[in-house]
Amino acid sequence: MEASPSISLRMPLPLPSRGQSTRVRVGTSELVLESVRGGYSLLWSDGRSARRYSLGLPDDGAMELRFCAPKFPLRVVPRDVLALVPRARLSGYLQVPLVPTLRWLAGEGPGMDVIELAPNDLQAEWDEIQGPWQRCASSLHVRFPMRSGEAKVVVPVHVKNLGRDVLSPPFLPLHLTDGDLREKRDSIVVSPRRLVWNGESFAPTGPAAGYSAAGRA
């Protein structure tokens, strides 16, 4: 299967017949679901490393590959130094990796996540005050990023400094949920995020500000 520059939130993964395999390419990564004796074998390779899973799946159901938002709040580390003088605003696009998730759909009920293929560029951290969060790095694109087929979501951000000092944040806090993800321009995007620095901390504002605890649908 050829690499497609476009990406959609859900990609069906038909169960192969015995001896056959189903291949799905996502950017530089590839997923191969193979029917073997006694079950199914799943191979996920990102070009540098590979993970292998053995799956037991019934015949009455369907498998799909979904791209989910990171579970925990994000700290996006900009690859460029951001510096905002007081009352200044900076806008751009960030790219955040998504989590490819194999979801099993049985009957009419809600599906269940079988395997989460955590991307390597999404690192998790935890402390007693903030709890868990995930960290990733991204450039602040001034234009809508070119579609690459990678499992990433484009996040438009507005950053405004209402403090009295120059703001040079070490990271931009974001929180995404699966319900926020939309398919636009053959890419996955979310509505713009507005971050206002009030002198002490970042305050998300606007309609997309609410941090939802709904999590995954």
Partner: protein
């Protein structure tokens, strides 16, 4: 005989007197031996550096002379290289001059060609004007001729019912149809009158057909000519089309002129539509309903949003229209909790004066109140690697690259003698199978 004997004896005596004695030879040999012994017994330091230097002084002089010669040669080579460079420049200058002459000649040639093109263009315009005038005059004459025909008495009334198409014989049917279509607005009766004369119908009809074909052919020639020159003066072509579509005689203009006019009108309509859209968009901006503000109790940061313009959105499809706000694409989750800052929540971050500090950019309080703050699962186990010295770095590399491992608290790998202790935390909710596979991967890496 006696004399011979005496002579031989005298010769022997003389030879014996002239040959060196053995004692002298021995003395020389002894002297040589003594010198050799003296030379052997003399120690190397005794030879002395000054003596060596003195012995080598002629060689040094020769070397100095050689070096001086070499320097002279080098200087001469440099001078020669400079001279060669000068000569090269001198040799290249004529070539450049030739090129410049070539360039001048080409420029002249280009100017000549441009002048020729301009002359041809002027000639084309003149010919076009002549043809247009001829066509206009021909159409006027044809019209007057038709008027004269109309003024003649009609021999049979049945001729009124004769269709104009009946005049147009099958070979000229294609040419007569558009003419009839254009004539229909103003001179339908004339056309009917032209075809209603049986006595004159045959020659007059043939004359009309001949004139019509000439007109159509001339017009097609003009069109083809102007089509060739369209790249040079496109605006003039369009203007000519419009002028011909509106000002030329309707009888003489077949289908192509209205077609070009239709294109122009279609383009104008599209342009007008775009301008209208722009105007509507501008008018709609001030009247566009502002997105609803967050209720004051919903977020404490509503006041901070005062400086933000919600309509200033990004170039995301669906958001480009100024009338569309973020609400249009913002999904409404089914069960979004009301995120009220909880007073019992622990302080998120110290009130940092310096915004660049890491802790100052803390998550809002509601995030901390919503997210679980349970300590993540910790994994700790001991390994007995083959090479404890390199095992720690290898294990740490794996732990830092694996996305399932939390980077804070930082994973620890401590080597205690032959054993290595690994301690790290994994993602909350990570399945036990993943934990086990991760541990086994670490064991295999140092096994």
């Amino acid at each position: 005989m006696g004399c011979v004997r005496r002579g031989l004896l005298a010769a022997l005596v003389a030879v014996a007197a002239c040959s060196p004695s053995s004692s002298e030879l021995g003395e020389v040999a002894a002297e040589l031996r003594a010198l050799r012994l003296q030379a052997r017994s003399a120690s190397p330091p005794d030879a002395g550096a000054p003596q060596v230097a003195e012995a080598l002084s002629p060689l040094r002089t020769a070397l100095d002379g050689l070096l001086a010669t070499q320097r002279d040669l080098q200087a001469q080579q440099v001078e020669l290289a400079r001279e060669m460079h000068r000569w090269t420049q001198l040799a290249a200058q004529p070539a450049n001059a030739a090129r410049s002459e070539e360039g001048l000649a080409l420029a002249k040639r280009l100017q000549e060609l441009e002048q020729k093109m301009a002359q041809q263009e002027t000639r084309h315009r003149e010919v076009e004007t002549l043809l247009r005038g001829a066509l206009d005059r021909t159409s006027e004459r044809l019209e007057s001729f038709l008027l004269q025909l109309q003024s003649l008495p009609r021999p049979t009334p049945a001729g009124d019912n004769a269709s104009p198409a009946s005049l147009a014989t099958p070979p000229a049917a294609g040419a007569s149809e558009p003419k009839q279509g254009t004539v229909d607005t103003g001179s339908g009766a004339r056309a009917g009158g032209a075809g209603s004369r049986p006595g004159l119908s045959a020659p007059v009809g043939w004359w009309i057909l001949l004139l019509g074909s000439v007109l159509v052919g001339g017009h097609l020639c003009v069109r083809a000519w102007r089509g060739r020159g369209a790249h040079a003066v496109p605006g003039r072509d369009a203007a000519g089309d419009a002028q011909q579509a509106h000002g030329a005689a309707p009888q003489a203009v077949p289908a192509p002129a209205p077609q070009s006019a239709e294109e122009i009108w279609a383009a104008a309509a599209l342009l007008g539509e775009a301008v209208d859209r722009l105007r509507r968009g501008k008018d709609a901006v001030p009247n566009a309903p502002r997105p609803p503000r967050q209720p004051p109790g919903d977020l404490d940061f509503a006041g901070l949003d005062a400086g933000l313009d919600d309509r200033d959105l990004f170039v995301v499809e669906g958001l480009d229209d100024p009338g569309v706000t973020a609400d249009a694409v913002e999904p409404v989750p089914a069960a979004r909790p009301v995120l009220v800052p909880t007073p019992e929540a622990p302080p998120v971050a110290p009130a940092a004066a310096a915004p660049t500090s890491r802790e100052a950019v803390a998550m809002p309080r509601m995030v901390a109140s919503v997210l679980p703050r349970r300590a993540p699962a910790q994994l700790s186990f001991r390994l007995r690697p083959r090479d404890p010295a390199h095992a720690c770095s290898a294990l740490l590399k794996i732990l830092r690259e694996d996305p399932r491992v939390l980077q804070r608290p930082e994973p620890r790998v401590q080597g205690t003698g032959p054993e290595v202790v690994c301690q790290f935390a994994v993602l909350p909710g990570l399945p036990a199978g993943e934990c086990s596979v991760l541990e086994q991967r670490l064991r295999d890496s140092v096994g």
